[in-house]
Amino acid sequence: MTPRAIATGALCAAAALAAAPAGGAGFGIFEQGSKAMGMAGAFTAQADDPSAMFHNPAGLAFQKERDFSVGFTWIRGTEADYQSGATGFPGPGISGEQETLSEFPPHAYWVEPLGGAVTFGLGVNSPFGLVTEWPEDFPGRFVSRKAALRALDVNTVIAWQAGNLGLAVGAIGRFSDVELIQHVPAVNPLTQTAQDVATLTLDTDFEQGYGFNAGILHRYNNSFSWGISYRSKIEIDYAGDGSLSQNLTGTPFDAAVAAQLPFGVAIPAETSIEFPDQASIGLAFALSPHSLLEIDANWTGWSSFDVIVIDFTQDQLPDATRPQNWDDAYNYRIGVRWDGARGNQWRLGYVFDETPQPEEAVSPLLPDADRNGYTIGYGWQGRGRGSFDFALMYLDFDERERFANFDGEEASEFFGTYQNKAVLVGLTIGF
């Protein structure tokens, strides 16, 4: 039992480090400012508020007043269900529902014109992350019960304005940690069935990695602008400790398990994640003096996310490798806005976000899917620097099936269909 059980646990641990569904496909979060969010993130060619640091830092080149803004996006899952299929493991009749997701990735920006054509920006946001968590009795808990990835970016930007052209380059420091919880099964010889004998928890320290971003924004005239932005890939090496806690079966098997698994000791582990690079292009058209339409396409280099390796550095558990084989993916965004009287602005948007995750990688760990997002937004801009932006997004995931395995990955097979829906609420205050 023991070596295999541990090996299985280690494999799942490896996969868990990939975890976290989010507001963007894969484990990306594209909602980093409520104004942009109200237009479904179609903002690369506008970039006219401090969240430009995320959407297109070149937008800062046109911002000539000191500005602060702070906010968050509340991501709440409204449906996260699993239903097994007729074939494969676990077979028909198994279902489950995730614990209700409720996360608040924050964002905060400071824009400081330095005089002349140069503007400085400092931003803090969370472009990757989120959580999957299943109940303690979910049959797929041996693949993953909880997986959480947190990432916080600190982004400094220098932007230059040259006529109607803005250019920017910035440095990104990313700070991230990972938590996973996964149960360990073993065959109890007394019952000749598998039982839940242990829980493996892995917490890494907050580690950091570094990258850059850059952007171009061309305000061709009052009716048309275009922009391009890019954010580099960032690799973070994680170190942390795993721990095993015993789940008693109430049989004499417990003593055998206790004798063979390393309970109550730290299990050092190392791994790394290469966060993908991202590029956006946007075109904005003035529909009237008081309305604007923007169309964006975004690309994310998820193909860098091909395999996860966990190294249990003291060999208390076997090292583990698990393929992911994600594909590069695009999303397409369209947003409109109308300027009303007294600084009011109304926004609508739609995004189609394709999943980078192949069917073989879909699991309780991260059941990603193509998704359609529908947004509305409202903003108020005071006469001074005060502003308020609100956005609401309904995120409808396509039904996602898993009925295929990567070669050699049958042990983690957990076939079935996943259905997710979420509501996102964004709130940003400027001052």
Binding site: A86, F89, P139, G140, F142, V187, A256
Partner: protein
């Protein structure tokens, strides 16, 4: 609480519950060109769902033929069911105290047959202990044999009498298994000869295909030298407290075999367990008796090689016969090799292995599968049948077999205190005797002598009349019955006997 009884009750309840959970009303399935109107199974203990040293209805209802029948939509599939505590009584883990667990029969008294009066042959006609030759000629034998055959003819005759449209055949395991479980390799005695096997096997297949007219699925023979019964006990002295090999001067200390210190690639059989517990096979300087283990408790590396080579020859014959009969081939040998090497990925984060007691695939006797193992076999058959006949028979849902009928994977046994050292489980002498006798390793009425010349087709060719024909015994193959000598005698001639295994 009596652990033995508690475990027995729980295991039985689990098996029954798993059945209820897994079973459902038979529904018509897409079987392709395979006709499951009348499905019968030929085989040995593996087909009969022998497990933990006996037949028991709770496991028999999960035999791989029963699972195939259910998945293929067969409305009724009759088997020779055995009541509790099994025939012979099933083995159970006993003595989960501070010491090592002990595996013993649950009871001294066997259970009763439950389906003895079925007025026709059973659909699952498999007989534990049967080899290929037995399928063709044997009409009576030990208690299990007689309860299944019921004097109605040979296994093949009775299957033919059912006029089946589809037959699964997994036979030949006992043509090599006796050598592995007895520790004695004698060509033509514990190991069937290639010539005899080929004649018998081709006769069996051709009879089923050409005369009975059934579609077939046939399975190969796994590597019996890789069974937990053979591989669990290392050939070196192990510290019972730490379960780690004893090192002297940095060197492993070999156990003492019949010809001196064992080599690292020799095998010590599970039946040596009670002897080792008494110090037999352990050097005197390490606290043992210094007495050697008997030959019947050891398989030398050479014997293992002989068994494997013979198994490969038999499998070549099976494959050729299957191809000639356009039968679906179930490559159990390859599948088992993969499982031995890599384990079986059950899904859901669990990998089953061939480890004794904790691997999940084998039952307490170390030879026969657990219900999960039999479900795996059923799926292997279904996959092969679908591939050969273009069907879409659904595979068996493994979930109830893995996590129990409620899928909880939680506690299922009342509190019992005590530590278990599973790696040093003792396979009691009673357990060994019960297992080997039920497999007819020591209790066969006789075995044919080596037969270098297979002669003409010797097999019985029963008419597919739809009724058993107990009065039409087939002609024995040349050199079979007349030249047989009791297997026990052969063992004694080799300098060993069953009694050697008794402490």
């Amino acid at each position: 609480m009596n652990v033995h009884r508690a475990v027995s009750r729980i295991a039985l309840a689990l098996a029954a519950a798993a059945l209820l959970c897994a079973a459902g009303p038979a529904a018509a399935q897409d079987t392709g060109s395979a006709d499951f109107t009348r499905y019968a199974a030929i085989g040995d203990s593996l087909t009969a769902a022998f497990a933990s040293g006996g037949l028991h209805e709770d496991v028999q209802r999960l035999s791989y033929p029963a699972l195939i029948a259910r998945q293929a939509g067969v409305a009724s599939f009759q088997q020779p069911l055995a009541g509790a505590p099994g025939i012979p009584p099933l083995l159970a883990i006993q003595g989960l105290g501070p010491g090592a667990p002990v595996i013993v029969p649950r009871s001294a008294q066997p259970g009763s047959p439950l389906n003895l009066n079925l007025p026709r042959p059973y659909d699952n006609m498999a007989v534990p202990g049967f080899d290929v030759h037995d399928v063709l000629v044997t009409r009576a034998g030990n208690q299990i044999v007689n309860l299944i055959l019921r004097g109605l003819g040979t296994q093949l005759e009775q299957v033919a009498a059912l006029n089946p449209t589809f037959v699964t055949v997994w036979i030949g395991n006992n043509d090599v298994l006796g050598a592995a479980t007895s520790g004695i390799v004698i060509d033509g005695v514990t190991l069937s000869t290639v010539a005899q096997f080929e004649v018998d096997y081709r006769t069996l297949i051709s009879t089923l295909r050409q005369l009975v007219g059934a579609d077939l699925a046939v399975a190969t023979i796994p590597d019996v030298a890789a069974l937990p019964f053979v591989t669990t006990i290392p050939p070196v002295v192990v510290n019972p407290a730490t379960r780690e090999p004893v090192l002297i001067g940095g060197q492993l200390v070999p156990l003492i075999g019949p010809s001196g210190p064992l080599a690292l690639n020799d095998r010590v059989l599970l039946t040596a367990s009670p002897l080792l517990a008494q110090g037999i096979g352990i050097p005197a300087q390490l606290g043992g008796s210094g007495q050697p283990l008997p030959d019947s408790a050891v398989l030398s590396a050479g014997e293992v090689a002989t068994i494997r080579a013979r198994t490969a020859e038999f499998n070549a014959i099976i494959r050729d016969s299957a191809a000639g009969a356009a039968a679906a081939l179930v490559p159990i040998d390859d599948i088992f090799d993969d499982i031995v090497a890599e384990g079986f990925p059950a899904g859901g984060g669990l990998t089953y292995t061939t480890d004794f007691l904790t691997g999940g695939i084998f039952s307490y006797d170390g030879v026969h599968p657990s219900p999960f193992g039999y479900a795996m076999v059923a799926n292997a058959f279904i996959e092969a049948i679908n591939a050969e006949y273009g069907g879409a028979i659904p595979e068996v849902d493994l979930f109830p077999f893995v996590f129990g009928p409620d899928g909880s994977a939680g506690a299922t046994v009342p509190d019992v205190t005590g530590a278990a050292s599973l790696a040093s489980a003792v396979f009691s002498a009673e357990a060994g005797r019960s297992l080997l006798e039920s497999l007819r390793v020591f209790a066969r009425p006789g075995r044919r002598r080596p037969s270098p010349d297979p002669g003409p087709d010797p097999g019985p060719v029963p008419a597919p009349t739809g009724r058993p024909s107990p009065t039409a015994p087939p002609a024995p193959s040349p050199g079979s019955a007349a030249g047989r000598r009791p297997f026990a005698s052969a063992i004694r001639c080799a300098g060993n006997s069953w009694e050697d295994l008794d402490p």
